[in-house]
């Protein structure tokens, strides 16, 4: 891949194309000046009567800071809700509870696609014209109360189940959003073996014991080109999730391949399952894998998605495909449930729905697919939600809705007690604002909080029980606690400000919340810059008054855990957290010890590698210094026992623990092990 990359890059670099004179810096400066003048004339001209100056664009930072200072003063007088009333514009009309349409034939789908093709832009197509006159209205199934059981994060550190038996040590599990709903990742372990997807897209199976590892086998493509993205492991089965490329067609499809690994040194293919489209995400609940893909219908490409074995997929029936009102573009979400239990040849169900998706939230009985849509002038964003109920192998696309704004990640969504909650960032008069919507079991709006944290956007969300914890960021960087115990009346209960912002919120105990994120520094020009990694520990025992208990900043450090929760490893038994880190710095910055308030450095006993984790001997000449490793820490009433464990390798991507040993895996597939002494 790198060779191809370099080859193509070389060709592009030598094409000799340069930006023309009309796009010079001077011409652009003149254009910006002219635009500003025009705007000023328009505004003063239009508002001459009222004498009222309206801002049409988002201003640069210095004026923002002044505005924020005024706002802060006003908050002190009116309280938050009073200020929101003064400042909020016309009430938000969130659009929820739309109806789905089931196609009656392939011809109908064709007609819809054609109408999208003919319009000069992908405008809003009204269904019903040219299609059948009777719109079929989907009724949401009345699910029994038992099915509505809360499957959120229930307790403290509940994701690491730490199974133990006489034969295997306790071991780490993938950090999950929802208990018992497994998420695919590039590394898995079962306490005896480590399974890892290298950058070269092979799965390597290693035995691991007492810090020593041995490569037993690899699983790669088997004839058909299979670009493996991540895996699941269950008992003696390895399930790969990947993208399939067939030589005879340009169409991409996604597939899971199930291997029998009862003999870890000789994995054997049991069966495979593919479906049209690019992988969006997947989940595994019990013995069922749910695979979600996006399929964009290209001109000349297949209209109806297909699924089945890689060698022989079959088209879906029109009746298994439905449509959202006003579909935005010719694309479909394809959802399959595949039984991967042994002895089964992959029985499956597949449904598809018009729409696209970029984030999903999945629990053991519902899958929510969301995508961001924009209105015709691209200034207002909406999130289109499509829900598919899951009942083992039964998949039923049964509801859809739309709310204002866009979501930050899968953690922006949650379902509890039959209510779906979603936090978004939207726009109001050109300014960013934030919202939390609560939708009922029919996806109709039950309650909402809108317009909070103006000029900020959501960076992290965590739903825990009846509370939502939301971090927003811009000039002020607060943690908000929203009470959701009354679905009809969600309300902001409390907030606390902190510098920097978290991008991942982790419940540590019922009174403690840990944030992993970014530290920011003042750039001296009225703005901020990303200065490194930040850990923050919040006391959430009194939701009306959350407090910051402790925080630690690590200069120039970044971690995959800042944007991918799978990179976080939690050891509940020993009580520590581990994340991979990278540090890039040059000697012009302060090259001394990067950890503030560090404990004494850890002693690594009996390790395979000799580790040093204090920065020593800065070179005299200016150069970039790169270091990588695992950052370990504990969080109780303080963040302590911090151990920046440097490793000599290419970028560390993941770590797992088995018993007392931590195994760190890098981008090339190398494993290093050490015993932490926290």
């Amino acid at each position: 891949m790198n060779k191809d990359h370099d080859y193509i890059k070389e060709l592009f670099d030598s094409d000799g194309i340069k930006a023309p004179e009309s796009l010079s810096e001077d011409k652009m400066l003149a254009m910006l000046n002219a635009a500003e003048e025009k705007q000023f004339i328009e505004q003063t001209g239009n508002n001459a009567k009222t004498g009222h100056f309206e801002t049409k664009q988002v201003k640069a930072r210095p004026s923002l800071k002044r505005w924020v200072a005024v706002a802060a003063a006003v908050i002190a007088v009116f309280g938050i809700s009073g200020l929101m009333e003064i400042m909020t514009g016309p009430p938000d009309t969130s659009l929820a509870g739309d109806e789905l349409y089931t196609f009656k034939s392939e011809k109908e789908i064709e007609r819809l696609l054609k109408s999208m093709d003919n319009s000069p832009r992908y405008g809003l197509i009204k269904l019903g014209r040219g299609a059948s006159d009777d719109l079929v209205e989907y009724e949401t199934e009345e699910l029994a109360d038992a099915d509505m059981a809360d499957t959120g994060t229930t307790g403290v550190l509940s994701n690491s189940a730490a199974p133990k038996s006489a034969e295997t040590d306790s071991f780490s599990e993938t950090y999950l959003q929802v208990d018992d709903v497994d998420e695919a990742d590039i590394v898995k372990t079962d306490g005896k073996y480590i399974y890892y997807v290298t950058d070269g897209r092979e799965v390597v199976i290693l035995s691991a014991k007492d810090g020593k590892t041995k490569k037993l086998s690899t699983v790669g493509s088997s004839g058909i080109e299979n670009y493996i993205s991540d895996i699941y492991v269950k008992g003696d089965r390895l399930i790969t999730v990947g993208t399939i490329y067939k030589d005879d067609s340009d169409e991409s499809s996604s597939a899971i391949v199930v291997y029998d690994i009862s003999d870890r040194s000789k994995p054997e293919v049991l069966y495979d399952f593919s479906q049209t489209g690019d992988i969006l995400s997947s989940r595994m609940v019990g013995d069922n894998v749910y695979l979600v893909t996006n399929y964009y219908v290209y001109r000349g490409g297949r209209i109806v998605p297909a699924c089945g074995s890689i060698a022989n997929p079959k088209e879906l029936d029109a009746a298994d495909i439905c449509c959202v009102p006003d579909p935005d573009a010719p694309s479909l979400i394809v959802i399959s449930a595949v039984d991967v239990s042994s002895g089964n040849q992959g029985i499956s169900t597949t449904k598809a729905v018009f729409g696209a998706s970029s984030e999903i939230y999945c629990n053991d009985h519902n899958l929510y697919c969301t995508s961001t849509e924009y209105d015709s002038d691209s200034s207002t964003s909406y999130t289109r939600i499509v829900r598919a109920s899951l009942n083992g192998l039964k998949v039923n696309v049964d509801a859809t809705a739309r709310v204002r704004g866009y979501v930050n990640s899968q953690f922006s969504m949650d379902e509890r007690g039959g209510y779906f909650r979603i936090a978004t960032t939207s726009e109001r008069a050109g300014i960013e604002v934030n919202n939390l919507y609560v939708l009922d079991s029919k996806l109709k709006e039950a309650g909402k909080v809108t317009g909070f944290a103006r000029n900020e956007s959501i960076k992290a969300v965590r739903f825990i029980g009846d509370k939502a914890y939301v971090i927003t960021y811009e000039a002020i960087d607060p943690l908000f606690i929203i009470d959701l115990s009354d679905p009809d009346n969600p309300r902001i209960e409390g907030e606390v400000k902190i510098d920097g912002f978290s991008t991942l919120l982790i419940p540590v105990s019922k009174d403690r919340l840990l944030g992993i994120g970014h530290a920011t520094g003042d750039n001296g020009y009225g703005g901020e810059y990303d200065s490194g990694l930040k850990l923050a520990l919040f006391d959430i025992s009194d939701p009306s008054e959350p407090k910051v208990l402790d925080s630690k900043e690590f200069k120039d450090m970044s971690s995959e855990a800042q944007y991918d929760h799978h990179a976080l490893m939690v050891n509940n038994e020993a009580g520590y957290f581990a994340i991979p880190y990278e540090i890039w710095h040059n000697v012009e910055t302060d090259g001394s010890e990067v950890v503030e308030d560090a404990e004494e450095p850890s002693e690594t006993n009996d390790t395979e590698e000799a580790e040093t984790d204090i920065l020593v001997d800065q070179p005299d000449e200016v150069e970039d210094i790169y270091d990588t490793g695992i950052l370990l820490f504990k969080a109780g009433d303080k963040i302590n026992s911090v151990d920046k464990h440097k490793l000599d390798s290419s970028a560390i991507r993941r770590s797992v623990y088995i018993g007392d040993w931590i195994y760190a895996l890098d981008a090339d597939g190398n494993v290093q092990s050490f015993k932490p002494s926290l």
Binding site: D4, Y7, G16, E25
Partner: protein
Amino acid sequence: MDEKMINEAIAGSKEAFCSLYGIYKDKLYRYALYRLGDPTEAEDAVSECVLAAWQRIGSLRSGKAFGSWIFRILSNCCASRIKEMIGTRENLERIYDSGADSVPASPSLSVELTEALSQLREEERDIVLLSIIGGLNSTEISSLTGMAAGSVRSKLSRSLAKMREFLS
């Protein structure tokens, strides 16, 4: 990347912003040219991008983010141009789908690269251009296009291999 220039631009200096733009202008123009196939359209897209970027300068967080930030804006400008061009499919088809006999619209577009790009789907082309010309990594491309990062990596890998095979 000059932090001082970026900080000044964020603080409101048009001159600093334009100097910053100057560092990127060749990449921006080349990306737009290969994506839209026409130099006039590419010029318009870049101008539109500069204006839009200046109006949103407050949303730029740091120097490190400038590349992916401005390419996201340019990518959206190109995408809406593609949607709005009347007969746009004809333009792009003329450039990209007619195979070996097509003459590139602009004499400066590399013939062999254009033909190699024509072997790809529109979204694969975009990923290649963002990666090779824009210098964005797969995480940045993923957040820009809304595609899962794994999909981006696999498509990029596959597209580059296809192009190389075509060119050798």
